[in-house]
């Protein structure tokens, strides 16, 4: 291994192209975008240096505050749901379905490979109220009359929960498979001996399985939190951030600011805040994971 790391020509050939590509499509745009935060304007009207004005503007921008809180609320709710349901699915695959789980795993994983826009359209139709009732409203009308029927995606509070349900359902199969992969690596002997010591059901999961799954759980949490903090397409396709801006995350606010209002500098500042938030969350998660590993 040491000799491989000393072979600079091999490193150049194997890492160089990827590093070059990464620099071109990731690092340079990031630096460029951070540079934009000190300017205001648009490609048509030109740019003007404004110093820290864009950062100061964030402090008093109520729409930014709302979108930030919405993003955090959305990210923590969806991540909790995705990981919890993913874990339940993984346990179900390993301890209940066992060898026969492949068909169920494939079916539950299916929404992961379906385009987000298609899933959003499916949910729009499911929760539709006009011009005709979707499945949910039709069932509610059947069970309890028209008083239970709601414009689910047309109200901020109910719209939020429809988004949550959709995004949890869409991704739980992925986390189910990820945690399943971690779970089958847990030695059978450990589980058997725990059982012989009297552990079963919840106590077996809490005391034996979860501690052994912790590295995979941490990775899943980082994946999920970073994905949900940057949510864009599913909300755009389901509610468009509306009604008003009631379901508008930071990414959508950034998109509107930069590309609809032509305020490229302020839009870049919003996205710089989002990137910082994602970085902080990831660092906290890594710190948390490292401390766990260090513990005896």
């Amino acid at each position: 291994m040491a000799s491989t790391f000393r072979d600079w020509k091999a490193i150049l050939v194997f890492v160089g192209p990827a590093l070059l590509l990464f620099t071109l499509v990731m690092l340079i745009p990031i630096v460029w975008s951070v540079g934009f935060t000190f300017f205001e304007g648009s490609p048509i009207g030109g740019f003007e240096f404004v110093g820290l004005d864009n950062y100061l503007r964030l402090i008093g921008d109520e729409d930014f505050h709302y979108s930030l809180l919405f993003t955090l609320r959305y990210a923590f709710t969806v991540t909790s749901g995705q990981i919890l349901l993913g874990l339940i699915l993984a346990l179900f695959y390993v301890f209940y379905l066992r060898r026969g789980s492949s068909l169920v795993r494939t079916l539950v994983f299916f929404p992961v490979v379906v385009p987000t826009v298609a899933i959003a359209q499916l949910f729009v139709k499911l929760f539709e109220i006009s011009p005709q009732y979707g499945l949910v409203n039709a069932l509610l009308a059947l069970l309890g009359g028209d008083s239970l029927v709601q414009p689910w995606t047309g109200q901020g509070d109910t719209g939020f929960w429809v988004i949550i349900i959709m995004d949890i359902w869409r991704a739980m199969g992925f986390y189910g498979v990820l945690l399943y992969a971690g779970l089958i690596e847990v030695p059978t002997e450990v589980i058997e001996s725990a059982r012989m010591d009297g552990a079963s059901g919840l106590s077996l999961v809490r005391l034996i399985i979860l501690p052994l799954l912790r590295p995979v759980l941490t990775s899943s949490l980082i994946f999920s939190l970073n994905g949900t903090l940057k949510v864009f397409d599913s909300i755009l396709a389901l509610t468009g951030g509306g009604p008003g801006n009631t379901t508008e995350p930071l990414t959508l606010y950034m998109y509107k600011t930069a590309f609809r209002y032509n305020e490229y500098g302020y839009g870049s500042t919003v996205v710089a805040m989002l990137a910082t938030l994602s970085l902080l969350v990831t660092l906290v998660m890594y710190r948390f994971a490292r401390r766990d590993v260090a513990q005896p």
Partner: protein
């Protein structure tokens, strides 16, 4: 050791090959013609491609008409050809921004007349149409009223757009439903509300409104405001003579909120997109539909219009008691206009000029005969088979004494967004009329 060297050499060869392929100049396009300059062709024969960036599909509306006319022109100018590029309306602004940033706007492109177009004009990226058309001798292809309308949207600084269509807005109603419930065509807002109440009580949805698009809601607010303050209400608002917090504006927002909360717009108004809202009206599920005459394309299409074109009537925005606006004032607009890119024109003025001279004088007639579409271009003869609805709309336009634009015409992008997105909250009762107008005025002050 030997195998390692072989592997190393293979890798180096692959990397070099990939690099050479990636850096090589693009392969020359296969050409049917030999690469010899045609010396026989007259020097003045224009050659070039006219690009059109548009939000309409190739087989509909403006692209269809321009494509047909270009094909006709090719008999006279075989060197002219036509290229079409579609972009969704949501992405149009961003697309134009990026093209303008690299000074590569095409010969023709859709863009919104008003504040966004003024930015392009200020940066010298759009052709002044009146001067160009006068030079080309085709200024009489344009309807003078449409020219005045378009100039007004850019504060009179010139003519920077083509009126590919000319629309009058108002309420379209289902005659059979009105007859069934003994309703007269309303002339006052109160009469319209009374009619809506009768319909609502009878279980008929009074209005089809697309809250998802949001602008159909602000159109109603605009209608009330204009009838309250007169046709120049929005111009006076933007000039600072009126404030959005004034009584008439707040009353307008209150009336529209009351209409929504009384279920006049049906359930889940904010979940209804443009197409389904129009379908509600054209399938007889809703009695009235506020829309522009661009909808005639669908009204005249029996596959879409299930209630029949003869069953659709029109009435202008009713007057408001105590207001100064009259029924002779109409909401008139040129829809999403088409502009000419200055750089693309400068690169090949002969070709663009020849194309304009050939296509523009025929556009009005072609639109009327092919699609029954009313445009801001001169029409030499109205065909006999044009639909009754189109004839009625032409008559309404002819009777207009004053025209006024849509609610957001004078707003910048941020203010437009505040007006429309807050309108969604207004109809659900999540924002008060006072707050709606206060936020709007704050945005106007900041623009």
């Amino acid at each position: 050791m030997k195998s390692r060297h072989v592997l190393w050499n293979v890798l180096v060869v692959i990397v070099v090959c990939v690099t050479l392929v990636a850096c090589a100049p693009p392969a020359a396009e296969p050409t049917a013609e030999p690469a010899v300059e045609p010396t026989e062709e007259p020097a003045e024969a224009p050659e070039g491609v006219i690009h059109y960036l548009t939000v309409q599909q190739e087989d509909e509306g403006w692209p269809l008409l321009l494509s047909q006319l270009t094909t006709e022109c090719q008999a006279e100018h075989p060197g002219l050809s036509w290229e079409y590029e579609y972009v969704t309306q949501d992405d149009l602004s961003q697309h134009i921004q990026l093209l303008a940033g690299s000074d590569s706007l095409p010969e023709l492109f859709n863009y919104e007349s008003g504040a966004p177009l003024i930015d392009l004009v200020d940066s010298g990226q759009v052709v002044e149409v009146e001067e160009l058309f006068t030079d080309l001798g085709i200024m009489d292809a344009l309807n003078p009223a449409a020219v005045t309308l378009l100039k007004g949207l850019v504060n009179g600084i010139g003519l920077y757009a083509l009126p590919m269509e000319l629309n009058v807005e108002g309420f379209w109603y289902n005659k059979a439903i009105f007859d069934q419930y003994g309703l007269d065509v309303p002339t006052t807002w109160d009469e319209m509300l009374a009619a809506a109440d009768t319909l609502n009580d009878a279980g008929v949805q009074p209005f089809a409104v697309s809250g998802m698009q949001a602008w159909p809601i602000t159109r109603l607010i605009n209608g009330y405001v204009v009838r309250y303050y007169g046709y120049d209400a929005m111009a006076r608002l933007i000039a600072g003579e009126l404030s959005a917090t004034d009584e008439g504006f707040v009353e307008a927002a209150q009336v529209i909120q009351d209409m929504a909360l009384a279920d006049y717009f049906g359930p889940g108004v904010n979940t209804l997109d443009y197409g389904p809202a129009q379908d509600l009206f054209l399938q007889g599920e809703a009695a009235m539909f506020y829309m522009g005459s661009w909808a005639l394309r669908d009204f005249n299409n029996p596959e879409v219009n299930l209630i029949g074109a003869d069953n659709i009537g029109y009435f202008n925005i009713p007057v408001v008691e105590g207001g100064v606006g009259t029924m002779a004032d109409y909401s008139i607009n040129a829809g999403l206009t088409t502009s000419l890119g200055q750089t693309a024109y400068d690169e090949n003025p002969e070709a663009v000029g020849a194309w304009l001279q050939c296509v523009m004088p025929k556009y009005g007639d072609q639109a009327m005969s092919e699609l029954g579409l009313i445009t801001g271009f001169a029409v030499s003869e109205v065909p006999d088979d044009v639909s009754a609805l189109t004839q009625m709309t032409l008559a309404e336009l002819a009777g207009a004494e004053n025209g006024f634009p849509w609610f957001e015409a004078y707003f910048d992008s941020r203010t437009q967004d505040i007006a429309t997105s807050n309108a969604q909250l207004l109809v659900t009762g999540d924002i008060t009329p006072e707050d709606y107008m206060a936020e709007l005025q704050a945005a106007i002050d900041a623009q």
